[in-house]
Symmetry: C2
Subunit: 146 residues, 2 copies
């Protein structure tokens, strides 16, 4: 039986300094899984995994030079239960060493959103979308349309 | 109660041409959710969502010029049940218009992996990892370490 096509099971962030990156994510509340090995860190999410991997190693794995790899055009978001939770997790990120790109604010689509960048320039959005309820484990299933 | 910190609920790909991007993902087996609106496409995954959004809109949303946004340093992977399934989904991707970066092959960590880029340069890895069993719905939970 074929697996569902609409899946992402592993998100890999290429990082310039694995120690720095791990320290940032630890300070932001992320704990590496014991399956992490030398040169790579894995973090269990809901049915998927986030990985940190050296940028040059990642480029070599892709079969091309690391100079061509860039960040920002693919963003990761955490949807939150409230604007207050967006503010809190955003501030936690800044304290952990992230750079603020856009302070959390009410936005045109009716929600509340802010952007920050991790020490390697990977972009995270923290958002509250009142039209998208979250499950207790924090996972997101889109509501049926009207 | 605070939501788990280790979450990604929405992955957004900035795209130069939404029609082209939607056509590519449709040809690769992805069906937009009815909640998709003008200028954005959403795809339901296992507890998370993939979104397509105009690159310049995304840059504006981040509060910076689109010229600084790049791809490739953050990669998305689908873990597969077998090397044969990697080959099949990789070939499907090429037929849909992806560019091969690295043909699927046996790799140093004991698995089988290939890389391709979508029409906007977003990088996908298709991989079989014999040490990481998948659930029936295709989601990934890391095994306990030895």
């Amino acid at each position: 039986m074929a697996l569902p096509r609409q899946r992402v099971t592993l998100i890999t962030l290429g990082v310039g300094d694995l120690t720095r990156a791990e320290a940032f994510y630890r300070a932001w509340g992320w704990t590496p899984h014991p399956a992490s090995q030398d040169g790579v860190r894995f973090y269990q999410m809901q049915g998927a995994v986030l990985g940190l991997f050296g940028l040059s190693d990642l480029a070599e794995d892709q079969g091309r030079p690391d100079a061509v790899l860039g960040t920002g055009a693919m963003t990761l978001a955490q949807n939150m239960s409230s604007p207050a939770e967006v503010d809190r997790v955003f501030d936690d990120g800044l304290r952990a060493g992230a750079v603020a790109l856009k302070q959390p604010q009410a936005v045109f689509w009716g929600g509340y959103s802010g952007y920050l960048a991790d020490p390697d320039g990977h972009v995270w959005e923290l958002a509250h979308n009142p039209y998208w309820p979250l499950a207790d484990d924090g996972s997101l299933t889109l509501p049926a349309s009207d």
